[in-house]
Amino acid sequence: MRHPIALVVAVAVVARVTMLPNVARAATTLLQLEVTVGRGTSSSSAKVQESFVVARPNAVTGTTCWLSKETASGKAVFDGACSYGEVLAFSKNRGATWNSAANPTLGVTLGTRRNVNLNIHLFVEKDSAAVWEKRIAAWVTKARTIFGATNPIGLTFSSSTTWHTEAAGDLVGEGCDANRGAKASSTSLYYVANQITVYVVSGVYEAQTPLQGVKCATPSNLIYLSQAKARSVALAHEIGHVLGLHHALGALAADESKNLMVDVPRSAFNLLTAGQAVRTLLDTRSWLNASTASFSSAAAVPNASRANCDTSTLCPADTLEWTKLP
């Protein structure tokens, strides 16, 4: 039974040999890492009901030892295997926070949830615009709960929806090109660089295949959703791609995982692992780390500490789960 008012905290300790002071590299005995997570201030009045801690590559040996822990007290202790280094803290209802230390105790103060603006453009005939705006609001709400409450990613979304005639949709097209690049007109008319732009068009196609939605490769913060075919999970799924996540494969693709990034989702596929949460902040390809992101200055991970998670061993596997207290 977890304490009902305890913080929901997930801490990923990202120690990196190259960044640690000499004293750490010279250590012959692995030290225990104690992370204290401060609640910080938040405008939200909601109570948080669970606590987690996650941790990571070994600071001394350089071996990967990502771990996940749950804490009901706001304090998490990692024995020897994961020594001190860099720390990423996640929490439900709070923003993800980065910190580092060259000693075995480390404090992290959680911030407020990071807000991402969704710049939504709806191309539909006027008589059905009101119905569609309501549907889109539900999609945004679902994304907000997935990234803010169901999973401790620490994001929230605000949105503005602009209505255009269906004919105007021809200007932005039916998706990205064959290389997933965007049409010139789709990035000149309504696209905003420091927000996630979403075009809700009558149909989305790629190589004549009808899709529920798609995220362009360039720019990486442009999403197309199909009015006819997109189910509510599609927006959150595409946002996952914007944040650098790939389709769930292997064990993560199993129905039991209920992972948001499964390409054939059934009901309530809304979960993300600790590994995926870390990737959204650590991966250089995550839009959260893009220079155009409106909150770039407040990004959780400094430039020097980011990595290409497809090739770097500094990132955890996507399969790293949140580990709960027994």
């Binding site: 149909g203 009015q227 199993a254 129905d255």
Partner: protein, 195 residues
Amino acid sequence: MTTLRQVSIAGFRRACAILCLCVALATVMMSCAKHQTVLRAEHGDVARQDPLTAWLTCIECTEGQLDSLVARASTTTASNGAMRDTLERAVVVGPTNTELAATRTASEQDYVSIQLSLSELGDSAMAQSREEYADSEVGAFIRLYRIRAAVALVRIDRARARAIIASAARAARDLSVRDALIRTLRDTLRAPNGP
């Protein structure tokens, strides 16, 4: 002699015991396998691996997903004939009542879960009612299902598919389904090997 006979009887008994054990084990394994199949079917695990269901419901669809389905459906076995029949039915009438009911129930549960999360976050409630949300989800499910089935059918048997899709488009009451079916037909005329 007595000793040999006793040995022989003992050996026979051992053999019988081993045989019985094997039969019992096989029975248990078969029973488990059958039970597991039922369980997997109930939980949709089988469906997840079924290329037809995957194609009809995927979000972006991975490269080769349609190719794999078409390759399977194009071979002449009874089960693949059934797959083609399923696709034709999917174009004309859409998902089965069981699939629709399952989608609606799942959407309603999803709605409740979202509302719960919203209260945890202290955010305002959904603008849509539970019924509206479920209606939207079921509507999108039907459209996706029928349109993807049409695209697959064209790849398997173009001439037959054209007739079926044209008929389905004429009968479609949902304009977005009609438009998408017409578009699929148009694409078949444009691209000799597509869509």
